[in-house]
Amino acid sequence: MAAGIASVPVLIAKLWLVWPRFVAFPPVKGVSHLVERVGLFPLVAGGVFMTFSGVANIAQWYPWRFSFTASHFWMAWVTMGAIVAHVGAKWAFARRSLARPSRRPALAEADPVLGTVAEPEANNGLSRRGFLGTVAAASGMLTVTTVGQTFPPLRSLAVLAPRDPGVGPQGYPVNRGAANAGVLDLSRSPAYRLVVEGRVATPLALELDQLLALPTSVARLPISCVEGWSYSASWRGVAVRDLLAVAGAEPDRTVLLESLEPQGRTERRPSTPARPPTATPCWPPTSTASPSTSSTGSRAGSSPPTAPAFCRPSGWPR
Protein backbone atom coordinates (compact mmCIF):
# COMPACT_ATOMS: atom_id res chain seq x y z
CA MET A 1 0.00 0.00 0.00
CA ALA A 2 0.93 3.64 -0.17
CA ALA A 3 2.54 3.66 3.29
CA GLY A 4 4.53 0.56 2.43
CA ILE A 5 5.80 2.05 -0.81
CA ALA A 6 6.76 5.28 0.94
CA SER A 7 8.66 3.32 3.59
CA VAL A 8 11.01 1.73 1.04
CA PRO A 9 13.47 4.67 0.97
CA VAL A 10 13.25 4.99 4.76
CA LEU A 11 14.30 1.38 5.27
CA ILE A 12 17.10 1.66 2.72
CA ALA A 13 18.36 4.86 4.37
CA LYS A 14 18.23 3.29 7.83
CA LEU A 15 20.15 0.23 6.65
CA TRP A 16 22.70 2.47 4.94
CA LEU A 17 23.25 4.56 8.06
CA VAL A 18 23.85 1.61 10.36
CA TRP A 19 25.80 -0.55 7.95
CA PRO A 20 29.19 0.49 9.44
CA ARG A 21 28.06 -1.27 12.63
CA PHE A 22 27.77 -4.48 10.64
CA VAL A 23 31.55 -4.49 10.26
CA ALA A 24 32.32 -2.81 13.62
CA PHE A 25 34.98 -4.30 15.85
CA PRO A 26 34.84 -5.94 18.31
CA PRO A 27 31.68 -7.70 17.13
CA VAL A 28 30.41 -8.45 20.63
CA LYS A 29 30.95 -6.59 23.90
CA GLY A 30 29.28 -8.54 26.67
CA VAL A 31 26.05 -10.47 27.11
CA SER A 32 23.54 -7.67 26.57
CA HIS A 33 25.38 -6.58 23.45
CA LEU A 34 25.27 -10.15 22.16
CA VAL A 35 21.51 -10.34 22.79
CA GLU A 36 21.04 -7.01 21.04
CA ARG A 37 23.09 -8.02 18.02
CA VAL A 38 21.36 -11.38 17.64
CA GLY A 39 18.08 -9.43 17.59
CA LEU A 40 19.35 -7.35 14.71
CA PHE A 41 19.09 -10.32 12.40
CA PRO A 42 15.28 -10.65 12.56
CA LEU A 43 15.13 -6.85 12.47
CA VAL A 44 17.16 -6.40 9.29
CA ALA A 45 16.08 -9.60 7.57
CA GLY A 46 12.45 -9.02 8.52
CA GLY A 47 12.48 -5.41 7.34
CA VAL A 48 14.10 -6.31 4.03
CA PHE A 49 11.73 -9.23 3.54
CA MET A 50 8.58 -7.26 4.37
CA THR A 51 9.39 -4.47 1.93
CA PHE A 52 10.77 -6.67 -0.83
CA SER A 53 7.89 -9.15 -0.73
CA GLY A 54 5.39 -6.29 -0.49
CA VAL A 55 6.82 -4.48 -3.52
CA ALA A 56 6.93 -7.77 -5.45
CA ASN A 57 3.33 -8.50 -4.46
CA ILE A 58 1.94 -5.21 -5.73
CA ALA A 59 3.78 -5.92 -8.99
CA GLN A 60 2.10 -9.36 -8.96
CA TRP A 61 5.55 -10.91 -9.04
CA TYR A 62 5.86 -14.12 -7.03
CA PRO A 63 9.38 -15.52 -7.39
CA TRP A 64 8.81 -17.83 -4.40
CA ARG A 65 6.78 -20.92 -3.56
CA PHE A 66 5.25 -19.81 -0.23
CA SER A 67 1.91 -18.05 0.13
CA PHE A 68 2.52 -14.31 0.17
CA THR A 69 -0.30 -13.40 2.54
CA ALA A 70 0.45 -16.06 5.16
CA SER A 71 4.21 -15.50 5.09
CA HIS A 72 3.91 -11.70 5.08
CA PHE A 73 1.56 -11.91 8.06
CA TRP A 74 3.74 -14.19 10.20
CA MET A 75 6.97 -12.44 9.24
CA ALA A 76 5.32 -9.20 10.39
CA TRP A 77 5.17 -10.71 13.90
CA VAL A 78 8.85 -11.57 13.72
CA THR A 79 9.72 -8.08 12.51
CA MET A 80 7.55 -6.33 15.08
CA GLY A 81 9.09 -8.38 17.88
CA ALA A 82 12.53 -7.43 16.66
CA ILE A 83 11.47 -3.76 16.64
CA VAL A 84 10.24 -4.02 20.26
CA ALA A 85 13.56 -5.51 21.36
CA HIS A 86 15.52 -2.95 19.35
CA VAL A 87 13.58 0.05 20.66
CA GLY A 88 14.18 -1.21 24.20
CA ALA A 89 17.89 -1.60 23.53
CA LYS A 90 18.15 1.89 22.02
CA TRP A 91 15.70 3.66 24.32
CA ALA A 92 18.24 5.33 26.56
CA PHE A 93 20.43 6.15 23.58
CA ALA A 94 17.54 7.76 21.70
CA ARG A 95 16.37 9.70 24.77
CA ARG A 96 19.82 11.14 25.36
CA SER A 97 20.28 11.93 21.68
CA LEU A 98 16.96 13.75 21.46
CA ALA A 99 17.53 15.69 24.67
CA ARG A 100 18.13 19.46 24.77
CA PRO A 101 21.43 20.32 23.12
CA SER A 102 23.04 21.28 26.44
CA ARG A 103 22.46 17.81 27.86
CA ARG A 104 23.08 15.93 24.64
CA PRO A 105 26.35 14.17 23.95
CA ALA A 106 27.97 14.80 20.59
CA LEU A 107 26.89 12.05 18.22
CA ALA A 108 30.48 11.06 17.60
CA GLU A 109 30.89 10.82 21.36
CA ALA A 110 27.74 8.82 21.98
CA ASP A 111 28.37 6.43 19.14
CA PRO A 112 31.93 6.26 17.85
CA VAL A 113 30.95 3.96 15.00
CA LEU A 114 28.03 5.90 13.59
CA GLY A 115 28.67 9.39 14.85
CA THR A 116 31.62 10.01 12.61
CA VAL A 117 29.65 8.80 9.60
CA ALA A 118 26.68 11.00 10.29
CA GLU A 119 28.73 14.17 10.80
CA PRO A 120 30.67 14.67 7.59
CA GLU A 121 32.95 17.60 7.03
CA ALA A 122 31.53 20.65 5.31
CA ASN A 123 31.26 20.42 1.54
CA ASN A 124 31.90 16.72 1.66
CA GLY A 125 28.53 15.85 0.19
CA LEU A 126 25.10 15.50 1.70
CA SER A 127 24.67 16.90 5.18
CA ARG A 128 22.47 15.08 7.69
CA ARG A 129 19.65 17.44 6.82
CA GLY A 130 20.29 16.93 3.11
CA PHE A 131 20.28 13.17 3.61
CA LEU A 132 16.90 13.30 5.39
CA GLY A 133 15.59 15.58 2.65
CA THR A 134 16.76 13.10 0.04
CA VAL A 135 14.95 10.24 1.78
CA ALA A 136 11.80 12.38 1.92
CA ALA A 137 12.20 13.21 -1.77
CA ALA A 138 12.56 9.54 -2.68
CA SER A 139 9.45 8.63 -0.64
CA GLY A 140 7.59 11.51 -2.23
CA MET A 141 8.63 10.51 -5.73
CA LEU A 142 7.47 6.91 -5.21
CA THR A 143 4.20 8.09 -3.67
CA VAL A 144 3.43 10.61 -6.42
CA THR A 145 4.11 8.08 -9.17
CA THR A 146 1.99 5.30 -7.60
CA VAL A 147 -0.76 6.70 -5.34
CA GLY A 148 -3.01 7.50 -8.31
CA GLN A 149 -3.92 3.82 -8.51
CA THR A 150 -6.08 4.36 -5.44
CA PHE A 151 -6.44 8.18 -5.40
CA PRO A 152 -8.11 9.13 -8.71
CA PRO A 153 -7.14 12.86 -8.74
CA LEU A 154 -3.48 11.83 -9.13
CA ARG A 155 -4.25 9.11 -11.66
CA SER A 156 -2.39 10.83 -14.49
CA LEU A 157 0.78 10.96 -12.41
CA ALA A 158 0.69 7.27 -11.47
CA VAL A 159 3.09 6.28 -14.24
CA LEU A 160 4.82 3.62 -12.10
CA ALA A 161 1.66 2.15 -10.57
CA PRO A 162 1.00 -1.52 -11.35
CA ARG A 163 -2.71 -0.73 -11.82
CA ASP A 164 -4.78 1.98 -13.45
CA PRO A 165 -8.26 2.40 -11.92
CA GLY A 166 -9.64 3.03 -15.39
CA VAL A 167 -8.08 0.09 -17.22
CA GLY A 168 -9.51 -3.41 -17.14
CA PRO A 169 -11.72 -5.88 -19.00
CA GLN A 170 -14.84 -3.80 -18.30
CA GLY A 171 -13.16 -0.46 -17.76
CA TYR A 172 -12.23 -1.47 -14.21
CA PRO A 173 -9.18 -3.36 -13.03
CA VAL A 174 -9.50 -6.92 -11.85
CA ASN A 175 -6.74 -9.31 -10.92
CA ARG A 176 -8.11 -12.29 -12.80
CA GLY A 177 -10.48 -12.06 -15.69
CA ALA A 178 -12.86 -14.86 -16.58
CA ALA A 179 -10.45 -16.29 -19.15
CA ASN A 180 -7.59 -16.37 -16.61
CA ALA A 181 -9.84 -17.99 -14.03
CA GLY A 182 -10.77 -20.73 -16.49
CA VAL A 183 -14.53 -20.35 -16.10
CA LEU A 184 -15.59 -19.41 -19.64
CA ASP A 185 -16.51 -22.92 -20.71
CA LEU A 186 -18.17 -23.70 -17.38
CA SER A 187 -20.33 -20.60 -17.54
CA ARG A 188 -21.37 -21.22 -21.15
CA SER A 189 -22.15 -24.84 -20.54
CA PRO A 190 -25.83 -25.84 -20.81
CA ALA A 191 -25.26 -27.71 -17.56
CA TYR A 192 -24.66 -24.41 -15.73
CA ARG A 193 -26.83 -24.00 -12.63
CA LEU A 194 -26.84 -21.42 -9.88
CA VAL A 195 -27.62 -23.49 -6.82
CA VAL A 196 -29.09 -22.21 -3.56
CA GLU A 197 -29.30 -24.99 -1.06
CA GLY A 198 -29.01 -25.73 2.61
CA ARG A 199 -31.52 -24.54 5.21
CA VAL A 200 -33.91 -23.00 2.73
CA ALA A 201 -37.61 -23.65 2.16
CA THR A 202 -37.22 -23.99 -1.62
CA PRO A 203 -33.80 -25.08 -2.87
CA LEU A 204 -33.00 -23.43 -6.22
CA ALA A 205 -31.09 -24.65 -9.25
CA LEU A 206 -31.39 -21.83 -11.80
CA GLU A 207 -30.29 -21.98 -15.40
CA LEU A 208 -28.64 -18.85 -16.74
CA ASP A 209 -31.81 -17.65 -18.50
CA GLN A 210 -33.86 -18.15 -15.35
CA LEU A 211 -31.32 -16.22 -13.35
CA LEU A 212 -31.20 -13.34 -15.81
CA ALA A 213 -35.00 -13.12 -15.76
CA LEU A 214 -35.01 -12.28 -12.04
CA PRO A 215 -35.34 -8.62 -11.00
CA THR A 216 -32.04 -6.85 -10.69
CA SER A 217 -30.82 -4.13 -8.36
CA VAL A 218 -27.91 -1.67 -8.43
CA ALA A 219 -25.29 -1.24 -5.72
CA ARG A 220 -22.30 1.07 -5.51
CA LEU A 221 -19.50 -1.02 -4.03
CA PRO A 222 -15.87 -0.17 -3.25
CA ILE A 223 -13.17 -2.61 -4.20
CA SER A 224 -10.01 -2.17 -2.16
CA CYS A 225 -7.24 -4.57 -2.93
CA VAL A 226 -4.44 -5.44 -0.56
CA GLU A 227 -2.05 -4.54 -3.37
CA GLY A 228 -2.89 -0.89 -2.90
CA TRP A 229 -5.34 -0.17 -5.68
CA SER A 230 -8.99 0.54 -5.22
CA TYR A 231 -12.04 2.02 -6.88
CA SER A 232 -15.78 2.28 -6.46
CA ALA A 233 -18.22 1.33 -9.16
CA SER A 234 -21.91 0.74 -9.66
CA TRP A 235 -22.83 -2.85 -10.27
CA ARG A 236 -26.14 -4.27 -11.42
CA GLY A 237 -27.35 -7.77 -10.95
CA VAL A 238 -29.51 -10.12 -8.97
CA ALA A 239 -28.88 -9.45 -5.31
CA VAL A 240 -27.97 -12.46 -3.23
CA ARG A 241 -30.47 -11.21 -0.67
CA ASP A 242 -33.22 -11.43 -3.30
CA LEU A 243 -32.09 -14.89 -4.34
CA LEU A 244 -32.23 -16.00 -0.75
CA ALA A 245 -35.70 -14.52 -0.37
CA VAL A 246 -36.86 -16.47 -3.41
CA ALA A 247 -35.46 -19.62 -1.85
CA GLY A 248 -37.26 -18.83 1.38
CA ALA A 249 -34.27 -18.57 3.66
CA GLU A 250 -34.37 -17.04 7.11
CA PRO A 251 -32.78 -13.59 7.28
CA ASP A 252 -29.40 -13.00 8.89
CA ARG A 253 -27.99 -16.46 8.44
CA THR A 254 -24.44 -17.17 7.38
CA VAL A 255 -24.00 -17.62 3.64
CA LEU A 256 -21.34 -19.65 1.96
CA LEU A 257 -20.56 -18.39 -1.54
CA GLU A 258 -18.85 -20.82 -3.83
CA SER A 259 -17.19 -19.57 -6.99
CA LEU A 260 -17.52 -21.34 -10.27
CA GLU A 261 -13.75 -21.24 -10.47
CA PRO A 262 -12.45 -24.81 -10.23
CA GLN A 263 -9.76 -23.95 -7.69
CA GLY A 264 -8.70 -21.02 -5.66
CA ARG A 265 -9.06 -19.53 -2.23
CA THR A 266 -11.96 -17.27 -3.08
CA GLU A 267 -14.33 -20.15 -3.60
CA ARG A 268 -16.00 -20.10 -0.23
CA ARG A 269 -16.85 -16.93 1.55
CA PRO A 270 -18.85 -17.00 4.74
CA SER A 271 -20.84 -13.85 5.26
CA THR A 272 -21.33 -12.60 8.78
CA PRO A 273 -24.92 -12.39 9.95
CA ALA A 274 -24.49 -8.68 10.66
CA ARG A 275 -23.71 -7.87 7.05
CA PRO A 276 -25.58 -10.07 4.62
CA PRO A 277 -24.40 -9.75 1.03
CA THR A 278 -26.56 -7.41 -0.96
CA ALA A 279 -25.60 -7.69 -4.58
CA THR A 280 -23.13 -10.27 -5.57
CA PRO A 281 -23.97 -11.59 -9.02
CA CYS A 282 -23.73 -8.41 -11.01
CA TRP A 283 -21.99 -6.47 -13.72
CA PRO A 284 -21.53 -2.77 -14.43
CA PRO A 285 -24.82 -1.10 -15.37
CA THR A 286 -23.26 0.64 -18.33
CA SER A 287 -21.53 -2.46 -19.57
CA THR A 288 -22.88 -4.39 -22.49
CA ALA A 289 -20.66 -7.29 -21.64
CA SER A 290 -22.39 -10.59 -21.28
CA PRO A 291 -21.85 -12.46 -18.05
CA SER A 292 -19.51 -14.89 -19.69
CA THR A 293 -16.97 -12.17 -20.43
CA SER A 294 -17.20 -10.68 -16.98
CA SER A 295 -14.65 -11.12 -14.32
CA THR A 296 -14.16 -13.24 -11.30
CA GLY A 297 -13.02 -12.14 -7.91
CA SER A 298 -9.61 -10.75 -7.15
CA ARG A 299 -7.09 -13.18 -5.82
CA ALA A 300 -6.33 -10.89 -2.93
CA GLY A 301 -9.56 -11.80 -1.30
CA SER A 302 -11.28 -8.49 -1.76
CA SER A 303 -14.53 -9.23 -3.45
CA PRO A 304 -15.19 -7.72 -6.84
CA PRO A 305 -18.72 -8.57 -7.78
CA THR A 306 -18.82 -11.60 -9.95
CA ALA A 307 -20.95 -12.24 -12.97
CA PRO A 308 -23.99 -14.42 -12.39
CA ALA A 309 -22.44 -17.17 -14.40
CA PHE A 310 -19.65 -17.48 -11.90
CA CYS A 311 -21.56 -17.22 -8.70
CA ARG A 312 -22.97 -20.38 -7.27
CA PRO A 313 -24.03 -19.71 -3.71
CA SER A 314 -24.49 -23.22 -2.55
CA GLY A 315 -25.18 -24.48 0.89
CA TRP A 316 -26.96 -21.45 2.24
CA PRO A 317 -27.23 -21.44 5.18
CA ARG A 318 -25.60 -24.36 6.84
Binding site: F49, A85, A138
Partner: protein, 163 residues
Protein backbone atom coordinates in the same frame (compact mmCIF):
# COMPACT_ATOMS: atom_id res chain seq x y z
CA UNK B 1 24.89 9.25 1.03
CA UNK B 2 27.92 10.62 2.70
CA UNK B 3 31.29 9.05 2.70
CA UNK B 4 32.03 7.05 5.81
CA UNK B 5 34.85 9.31 6.92
CA UNK B 6 36.57 8.14 10.07
CA UNK B 7 37.26 11.36 11.88
CA UNK B 8 36.69 10.08 15.39
CA UNK B 9 40.12 11.21 16.51
CA UNK B 10 39.38 14.79 15.52
CA UNK B 11 36.29 15.04 17.70
CA UNK B 12 36.64 16.93 20.95
CA UNK B 13 37.42 14.30 23.49
CA UNK B 14 35.34 14.03 26.62
CA UNK B 15 36.21 12.06 29.69
CA UNK B 16 36.07 8.29 29.58
CA UNK B 17 33.74 8.49 32.59
CA UNK B 18 31.07 10.24 30.54
CA UNK B 19 31.18 7.63 27.86
CA UNK B 20 31.11 4.84 30.39
CA UNK B 21 28.04 6.35 32.07
CA UNK B 22 26.32 6.70 28.75
CA UNK B 23 26.95 3.15 27.68
CA UNK B 24 25.81 1.63 30.95
CA UNK B 25 22.63 3.69 30.68
CA UNK B 26 22.02 2.28 27.24
CA UNK B 27 22.90 -1.35 27.89
CA UNK B 28 21.83 -4.09 30.17
CA UNK B 29 19.27 -2.26 32.32
CA UNK B 30 15.88 -3.62 33.37
CA UNK B 31 14.27 -1.90 30.39
CA UNK B 32 16.68 -3.59 28.03
CA UNK B 33 15.94 -7.07 29.33
CA UNK B 34 12.17 -6.49 29.61
CA UNK B 35 11.90 -5.30 26.01
CA UNK B 36 14.23 -8.06 24.84
CA UNK B 37 11.99 -10.67 26.53
CA UNK B 38 8.83 -9.09 25.09
CA UNK B 39 10.38 -8.72 21.65
CA UNK B 40 11.61 -12.29 21.50
CA UNK B 41 8.22 -13.53 22.73
CA UNK B 42 6.59 -11.74 19.79
CA UNK B 43 9.23 -13.15 17.46
CA UNK B 44 8.42 -16.61 18.83
CA UNK B 45 4.73 -16.07 18.01
CA UNK B 46 5.72 -15.30 14.42
CA UNK B 47 8.06 -18.27 14.14
CA UNK B 48 5.42 -20.58 15.62
CA UNK B 49 2.90 -19.24 13.12
CA UNK B 50 5.30 -19.90 10.28
CA UNK B 51 5.92 -23.47 11.42
CA UNK B 52 2.28 -24.25 12.23
CA UNK B 53 1.18 -23.01 8.82
CA UNK B 54 4.00 -24.65 6.94
CA UNK B 55 1.69 -25.70 4.09
CA UNK B 56 1.24 -22.02 3.27
CA UNK B 57 4.51 -20.53 4.52
CA UNK B 58 6.88 -23.22 3.18
CA UNK B 59 9.49 -22.51 5.90
CA UNK B 60 12.45 -23.74 3.86
CA UNK B 61 11.64 -21.58 0.86
CA UNK B 62 10.70 -18.65 3.10
CA UNK B 63 14.00 -18.90 4.99
CA UNK B 64 15.90 -18.71 1.72
CA UNK B 65 14.25 -15.39 0.90
CA UNK B 66 14.48 -13.96 4.42
CA UNK B 67 18.12 -14.87 4.97
CA UNK B 68 19.00 -14.25 1.34
CA UNK B 69 17.51 -10.77 1.41
CA UNK B 70 19.55 -9.74 4.44
CA UNK B 71 22.76 -11.22 3.04
CA UNK B 72 22.14 -9.67 -0.36
CA UNK B 73 21.77 -6.27 1.26
CA UNK B 74 24.63 -6.49 3.74
CA UNK B 75 27.19 -8.23 1.53
CA UNK B 76 26.34 -7.01 -1.97
CA UNK B 77 24.11 -3.94 -2.10
CA UNK B 78 25.65 -1.93 0.74
CA UNK B 79 29.27 -2.47 -0.41
CA UNK B 80 28.27 -1.54 -3.97
CA UNK B 81 26.68 1.68 -2.69
CA UNK B 82 29.84 2.45 -0.73
CA UNK B 83 31.93 2.00 -3.88
CA UNK B 84 29.52 4.26 -5.76
CA UNK B 85 29.77 6.82 -2.95
CA UNK B 86 33.56 6.77 -3.11
CA UNK B 87 33.48 7.25 -6.89
CA UNK B 88 31.00 10.13 -6.64
CA UNK B 89 33.01 11.67 -3.82
CA UNK B 90 36.13 11.74 -5.98
CA UNK B 91 34.61 12.46 -9.39
CA UNK B 92 32.02 15.12 -8.62
CA UNK B 93 33.12 18.66 -7.68
CA UNK B 94 32.30 19.72 -4.14
CA UNK B 95 29.53 22.17 -4.82
CA UNK B 96 27.55 19.72 -7.00
CA UNK B 97 28.36 16.67 -4.90
CA UNK B 98 25.44 16.74 -2.47
CA UNK B 99 22.90 17.28 -5.24
CA UNK B 100 24.37 14.47 -7.35
CA UNK B 101 24.33 12.16 -4.34
CA UNK B 102 20.71 13.01 -3.62
CA UNK B 103 19.67 12.51 -7.25
CA UNK B 104 21.49 9.17 -7.32
CA UNK B 105 19.69 8.02 -4.19
CA UNK B 106 16.27 8.97 -5.56
CA UNK B 107 17.10 7.41 -8.96
CA UNK B 108 18.30 4.16 -7.39
CA UNK B 109 15.22 3.84 -5.18
CA UNK B 110 12.80 4.55 -8.03
CA UNK B 111 14.65 2.15 -10.33
CA UNK B 112 14.68 -0.55 -7.65
CA UNK B 113 10.95 -0.19 -7.08
CA UNK B 114 10.20 -0.22 -10.83
CA UNK B 115 12.42 -3.17 -11.64
CA UNK B 116 9.73 -5.90 -11.45
CA UNK B 117 7.39 -3.66 -13.45
CA UNK B 118 9.94 -2.91 -16.18
CA UNK B 119 10.77 -6.59 -16.44
CA UNK B 120 7.01 -7.36 -16.46
CA UNK B 121 7.45 -10.34 -14.14
CA UNK B 122 3.81 -10.19 -13.05
CA UNK B 123 2.29 -9.74 -16.50
CA UNK B 124 -0.91 -11.78 -16.86
CA UNK B 125 -2.07 -12.72 -20.34
CA UNK B 126 -5.60 -11.83 -21.48
CA UNK B 127 -6.08 -9.19 -18.80
CA UNK B 128 -5.67 -5.51 -19.71
CA UNK B 129 -5.62 -4.73 -15.96
CA UNK B 130 -2.20 -6.26 -15.67
CA UNK B 131 0.66 -3.74 -15.90
CA UNK B 132 -1.18 -1.23 -18.08
CA UNK B 133 1.73 1.20 -18.60
CA UNK B 134 4.97 1.21 -20.57
CA UNK B 135 7.14 1.09 -17.48
CA UNK B 136 10.53 1.32 -19.16
CA UNK B 137 9.57 4.59 -20.85
CA UNK B 138 7.86 5.91 -17.73
CA UNK B 139 10.89 5.10 -15.58
CA UNK B 140 13.09 7.04 -18.00
CA UNK B 141 10.69 9.99 -17.81
CA UNK B 142 10.74 9.94 -14.00
CA UNK B 143 14.53 9.72 -13.97
CA UNK B 144 14.59 12.62 -16.44
CA UNK B 145 12.52 14.71 -14.03
CA UNK B 146 14.85 13.78 -11.15
CA UNK B 147 18.00 14.78 -13.03
CA UNK B 148 16.46 17.93 -14.51
CA UNK B 149 15.60 18.96 -10.96
CA UNK B 150 19.13 18.10 -9.86
CA UNK B 151 20.63 20.15 -12.70
CA UNK B 152 18.47 23.12 -11.74
CA UNK B 153 19.57 22.81 -8.10
CA UNK B 154 23.23 22.72 -9.12
CA UNK B 155 22.78 25.87 -11.24
CA UNK B 156 21.10 27.63 -8.31
CA UNK B 157 23.94 26.62 -5.97
CA UNK B 158 26.65 27.75 -8.37
CA UNK B 159 24.98 31.12 -8.83
CA UNK B 160 24.51 31.60 -5.12
CA UNK B 161 28.14 30.94 -4.24
CA UNK B 162 30.33 31.60 -7.28
CA UNK B 163 33.85 30.57 -6.49
Amino acid sequence: MSLPTRTGDDQPASGPEDRHQFETAAKGGAGFWLSAAAGWAIIAVGLRGILQNSIDTRPGNLARFVVGGALLHDLVVAPLVIVAAVVVGRAVPGRARAVVQGALVVSAVVALFSYPLVRAYGLAANNPTSLPHDYATNLLVVLGVVWATAAALVVVRLRRSPR
